[in-house]
């Protein structure tokens, strides 16, 4: 498949075709008329060295000797195709693109005849090129190692599973003490009154606030605040939930907690099965 063809927008047979290793060509369906667009998906697949190396290797050229400046145009063409939603990745590509442009412009400029060999701007250009070449070679070692590792992932080693089926059940919740029937009638009335209070009228459900939304962002902020206020002692999940019983609040709080744990901002601990879940801030988070 012609790489140039793809860059110019020809359609590919598959949505994702690994044509050059580490660089994946993608096709996107969208827009008003469902027009498809092809681009080189580099966002999180590979870095600038990966792209440059792939361009060099597709022509079966030797990275150790090939003049890198000659790849400036092609590199820029791919660069223009990168989706612009990953700025931190883009900046890395910009840095290498700039280096290539400098190398190319120096190669185009006439060299002063009087200059001693190995001096002046020529030396700078050579140093820059060899520096970039060294980085490419160094990157290649690890890229190739990653491929070998990837192949090994097909044959993992399995270990014995912990006997999760034998986990103990939670201890039964102690039932409320039964009021003996020979009790004082006034106590019985009070008890009945409490039960009546607890029981919500059916109509009440219809009046439940519908539009009350709780966002993960809010819960993230609330958990962060509670954790930092609690310090090393930590805060337990029960108190984070307070007396809110609605499912969405509990679910969103739980999601926010998972997110914080994933971001390694907090440490979540449960010492005993079914015991309290304690949340503490992580050092340096």
């Amino acid at each position: 498949m012609s790489i140039r063809g793809i860059a110019e927008g020809y359609e590919l047979p598959d949505p994702a075709v690994p044509d050059i290793e580490g660089v994946i060509f993608r096709r996107e369906q969208g827009g008003l008329f469902g027009r498809s667009r092809s681009y080189v998906a580099l966002g999180e697949f590979s870095g600038p060295y990966g792209l440059l190396l792939a361009l060099i290797e597709k022509d079966e050229l030797d990275v150790r000797r090939v003049p890198l400046a000659s790849f400036a145009d092609e590199f820029l063409r791919y660069f223009a195709e990168i989706p612009d939603d990953r700025l931190e990745t883009l900046s890395a590509f910009v840095a290498v693109a700039a280096q290539l442009i400098v190398l190319k412009s120096r190669a185009l400029l006439p060299r002063p005849i009087s200059a001693e060999p190995g001096e002046g701007p020529e030396l700078d250009a050579e140093t820059e090129e060899s520096d970039l070449r060294l980085r490419l070679l160094r990157y290649r070692v690890f890229r190739d190692a990653a491929r070998l590792l990837g192949e090994r992932a097909a044959s993992p080693l399995w270990h014995r599973e912990p006997p999760s089926r034998q986990l103990p059940l939670p201890s039964p919740v102690a039932p409320e003490s039964v009021v003996p029937i020979y009790s004082d009638p006034r106590r019985l009335v009070r008890a009945l009154g409490r039960i009546a209070l607890r029981r919500k009228p059916l109509a009440g459900f219809a009046l439940a606030p519908v539009g009350q939304k709780v966002s993960i962002g809010e819960r993230l902020a609330a958990i962060r605040a509670a954790v930092s206020a609690a310090g090393v002692v930590g805060v337990d999940l029960e108190s984070l939930l307070g007396d809110r019983q609605d499912r969405s609040f509990i679910a969103v709080t739980f999601l926010a907690l998972l997110e914080l744990s994933k971001r390694r901002e907090v440490e979540v601990r449960q010492d005993v099965l079914w015991g309290p879940i304690t949340i503490t801030g992580r050092e340096g988070a």
Partner: protein
Amino acid sequence: MSEQAPSGAPRPPATVSDLEALLFVVDRPIERREAAKLLEVDRKELDRLIAALRERLVDRGITLVVHNDELQLASGPAQARAVLAWVGTGGSDLTAAPLETLAIVAYRQPVTKAGIEEIRGVDADYALRLLLERGLIEEVDRLETPGRPHRYGTTLEFLRRFGLASLADLPALEGDADALRHLELKSEVAPPAVDGSLPSTPADEAAAADAPLDGESGAG
């Protein structure tokens, strides 16, 4: 059937089979210290038992995974398919970026985020977070340079997921292995004000990073 010696009678010295049985029964990675205590042997004797057990398990369906201080019995890499039928899921779904990051950590450990970014030429935030989440790498220590950045190393989970019994089993690097050996990461070199021995620092750094690999291959 062998029976537990009654208290008071001296227990016979632990054998390779004892270690094998212990590791078979324990359903989690066990630390060397813990194993030595349970088997009532000293560290040196335990190392000998480990080496002997490894030798015994060659050509068997199970293998001994050794990572730093942790030991665990696992199925062999050649048995992956056979066991997969029971386990249900397998293989790696890592894309190039996390895989490359993982390779850098595996071969260069311990390594900082800045070091990884220097090699890959691109931000490693996402890849590192993903690998940490999956438990394939962990923070091992901090580099004594300004900012004291974390240094990352691989875990026992990494060895298992990639079919390696130890770091010594990492695939040999092809072609430009020299580039790795002489790798000097600018981002990881301590400034001269902190360390007086500047000329030797990068070499030491590279040597220190290579040491675990060399040590493992020497032992295994």
